[in-house]
Symmetry: D2
Amino acid sequence: MAPTKKVGILGATGTVGQRFILLLADHPVFTIHAVGASSRSAGKAYKDAVKWKQSKPIPANVDTLTVKSCVAEEFKECDVVFSGLDSDVAGDIEMAFLKANLVVFSNARNYRRDPTVPLIVPTVNVNHFDIIPHQRTVYGQEKGFLITNANCSTTGLVVPLKALQDAFGPMSHVLVHTQQAISGAGYPGVPSLDILDNVVPYISGEEEKMEWETCKILGGSDGKQFLPLTDTIVSATCTRVPVIDGHLESVSVKFANGCPSEEEIYKVFESYTSESQALGCHSAPEQAILVNRADDRPQPRLDRELAKGQAVTVGRVRPCPVLDVKFTLLVHNTVLGAAGSSVLNAEVAVAKGLI
Amino acid sequence: MAPTKKVGILGATGTVGQRFILLLADHPVFTIHAVGASSRSAGKAYKDAVKWKQSKPIPANVDTLTVKSCVAEEFKECDVVFSGLDSDVAGDIEMAFLKANLVVFSNARNYRRDPTVPLIVPTVNVNHFDIIPHQRTVYGQEKGFLITNANCSTTGLVVPLKALQDAFGPMSHVLVHTQQAISGAGYPGVPSLDILDNVVPYISGEEEKMEWETCKILGGSDGKQFLPLTDTIVSATCTRVPVIDGHLESVSVKFANGCPSEEEIYKVFESYTSESQALGCHSAPEQAILVNRADDRPQPRLDRELAKGQAVTVGRVRPCPVLDVKFTLLVHNTVLGAAGSSVLNAEVAVAKGLI
Amino acid sequence: MAPTKKVGILGATGTVGQRFILLLADHPVFTIHAVGASSRSAGKAYKDAVKWKQSKPIPANVDTLTVKSCVAEEFKECDVVFSGLDSDVAGDIEMAFLKANLVVFSNARNYRRDPTVPLIVPTVNVNHFDIIPHQRTVYGQEKGFLITNANCSTTGLVVPLKALQDAFGPMSHVLVHTQQAISGAGYPGVPSLDILDNVVPYISGEEEKMEWETCKILGGSDGKQFLPLTDTIVSATCTRVPVIDGHLESVSVKFANGCPSEEEIYKVFESYTSESQALGCHSAPEQAILVNRADDRPQPRLDRELAKGQAVTVGRVRPCPVLDVKFTLLVHNTVLGAAGSSVLNAEVAVAKGLI
Amino acid sequence: MAPTKKVGILGATGTVGQRFILLLADHPVFTIHAVGASSRSAGKAYKDAVKWKQSKPIPANVDTLTVKSCVAEEFKECDVVFSGLDSDVAGDIEMAFLKANLVVFSNARNYRRDPTVPLIVPTVNVNHFDIIPHQRTVYGQEKGFLITNANCSTTGLVVPLKALQDAFGPMSHVLVHTQQAISGAGYPGVPSLDILDNVVPYISGEEEKMEWETCKILGGSDGKQFLPLTDTIVSATCTRVPVIDGHLESVSVKFANGCPSEEEIYKVFESYTSESQALGCHSAPEQAILVNRADDRPQPRLDRELAKGQAVTVGRVRPCPVLDVKFTLLVHNTVLGAAGSSVLNAEVAVAKGLI
């Protein structure tokens, strides 16, 4: 079966854009039709415009595509537009695309707080797609809409939290400490002099994002508005470590209604499944949560490529003397934590008949 | 003034032993008189027995010392014995030295829980030396005694906690996440295949040590027994990162009697001073806590050498939504976190007339 | 088509053994029938005996195999035995297997200098298989034989040298400088304290191996003996760098009969093909040499996975003021440089009817 | 004795400028009088203008200096001006300073090829200062003059080559392979995504610089012009490795008049001494070349700080099958390889009465 949906990629020369291209290169539903980047790159062949930093080569067919400017007119034939734009330009461009009646899946942070824009982690809250009819009304579009995915570190956190919330009810407190890979900062991103033989205990804006995004994603939606969690308090500390890919997070949680046993928690993680999996989407992982019970796992270098980067690996479930329980998770920050979420979200939208 | 106290070093060829040698090389009070290691090394010149891994060369006078076996008879001329032995052999050897009426400062974990052995961080609780007369009675010694220093990661934690406790009263909850340097595991220690482009979310036994050592160190002593904190709950998560030296720790605390402001906390850190500093000891840092208010500090590579590794650097004081307040600290794990504590503890003992 | 040849793997728990398992997991010709390791591991399930360090999980079917001792009787059903044994034990074990009439492909160095044992890089000199009848005569075997593959760094070097030699005649001088990945030293291998923020300018025995192996591999065979190059002088300098996988080598060569142009050399590299490719072997790369003309390539992290690690990537061809021409090459040290060579060599042996 | 010479530092906020400040902070002859940087920084306090990346803090007295623009009028009180400017601006500014009759020691490459400007490595060719009277005539200055120091990697190379040349006569061929630290590229410099788990086999312009600078430095001067070596052929290959500080170089040389023994070479290295040492300059190392005969040395992390970074460490002297002899050297690229050369050159100029 040949792919049937034409897709465009904005910010196609950046690190997120490069991941979009790899994920969409042999896709059964989507075919890369157009790539957009800054005016500096527009008009060049993709391979001449990009500083390609992936360990797989540029897919054939994409390398010779002519880079377009990021204007909606150039992408009007696209059924889906994926945006890997930086937040300093994403705001205006994505809104222009939406108002041109295009379907946009954005990796940027600009519209995540918008009360009509879903913030979707595909193995957590694809039920938030139910706000699309309302969004179309607000923005006066017939078929266009805009979906955002979450910050890379939030994405990893909410998958196991959703499993816990579904099984054991609300959590009153969540305390998370991240050790984030350098690829999360894009290219050139983190200078090597800052990170070799070092850890940087700060990522601008990251802690705030984790603290509020978690509550929007884990909250409900009534089709007109989102209902973020109000009784869950999140405290995040974010650091940068010398790791290429894979964010590691140490999490402590306290449950509102009593603490389950470690074994119950492991079982819940192992059996957790999400709607995107039930819909049979191409990029949905077989298991949304992979459990590794070894003492010293998950580890970024050994576990990030499991399930092609679309699952979250969890281990070290144990009691927390201060809250209730502690565990460690790993998320591939440029797959599930970025482009992989957008692609799977788009597959869900196709499955739901929204595209 | 020439040094007057002869010192011996056990485990002198290991990584902690090498640090002892550097710290004692030009010391105003102590002079290296004897070095001990395993029977495999005994009889060799030190420079032939050691795989020296420091960025400064082996001090003259030490390189040609003949390595001795770790038996008390060989060290009987030593006024002070520093032990950098591994815990699998430290138990028997250190006890034999104590029973030979020798003064031992140990970096090993074996006697840290002993109810007559102080666990001392020199800028925190040198008042625990007051149990020495009692210890001598118990072990039937006239001048010999045994002091342990704390685990490297505990050492970093208790310095700012002590400052907070002195100023604002007890803390009910402490939650700490460490990112520990590879030098903490000795040599050969961490295989490079385990840590390059990686983080290992587990260090055997480390979390338990941080959780109970903190309560012994921050508790009192009545001269006969220690009075560990019973109302402070500590939860630790320990990880290994690709950093040569310097443990970074992210800490959240809750106070029993209400939370001070960030500015009050910064002031308390900046003005904190300890008895070892008041005694004018040679290795005591000018300030026990160095405050760095930049958003992205402390960092291991940039801050670990400050105050010759004998201070703790603290930054990022800010509210914790879950507990009361969060901050980040850095401790040089092989200086204040190991050999540097022992040396400063010994200086304090000299100043107090115990040696 | 189901695999038809049963294979055994010696040293199956080591790093080379783990690579063998990954390479043979879904192989069209070979099926993993037995795994052998030290007596410490024998009798355990493979997953319990191994410290698995690969980024892909242990293949199903292998994880529950019971580890055998490395004695020939236990492997007598195997059509092929791959040896990833360390050289300190490989000598006796491999000889015992050969004398038990088994077919052995060894990654160890022990028999590389044996005048009846081929030293084969599969994209260079599979014509050396022609000595097998003679070897069988010498060792009195009917179907068993022993093949070695080359040192990882030699393997990378000889592929482009063979292309140059075929096209432009003999080289009088070859000077090579390597920057070798830590995986080449096995596990635990290189201590992290030795290699983080560092380069080690020495690998024991490596320079000598490169200097003589090159001449055996690039020399001829008359079916009774090998005819190593005698007029090519090789000088090697070998260093260890903090890279996980992929040896980078800087090469200068002088030709006996005059120097071709850069463009001629690039063309020769691009068009080079070997017998193992012509035989259509499963693991043979489409191109044995991949040329990358960018100024700053090849690079280990970006290029090592190309062609599944079975090709050598070459770039930076330019004049050498001292010799004739300089270039840079990259070889995946644990694939083509180790297990991948053995597997492809075995495929060639099957194709030639030797197994 | 109080310092008597006022110095200015251009490019004071950059990585080379930061090194100048550390080296000059407690200098017996020089006192930091003025710091200059881009117009963006001018007018700010130094501590507010700089992103300080050194492991020692900003020296007191410097942190509050007001940054000046890099115009000669602002530095007219300075007896010496050190330039750490980038080459894209160094050309015009340094010439303007020279023409304002100022004494300039430059780390930039712009005037290294100028036939009246010495290219001086202070432990190699301070005799080239004899061209200063001629330079002053050419540029019409009474007391001002301009001295450059060499590229960091050239600097390391020429120290042992000078020792060999003095002892054994000219070398006909020199082949060098470098593994260069990231600090050589300044800040932000090398992106971490380019160098973690990687080696980059190319540094723009570096190989050409090593090839010609070596011949100018090792050549003579007749007081009117330089007499670069014409019969020594140099071939350089330069790579970037994940090391903070310290360039490692593998060198092969061929002598015009026959090859000395390894032991003779070691003796020559050990006994080599230069004029800057004989003059008793403050920053001159006790030994210009440190020999380490261990198999696996020098290593960047272990040896770069020896002699405060002003010596070159040499090891692994052994026969080269292709040329005559091979050895390995290490140079601290931001000390002797950059700011340290300039400072020692200036001390020599003071000792010679040129300032």
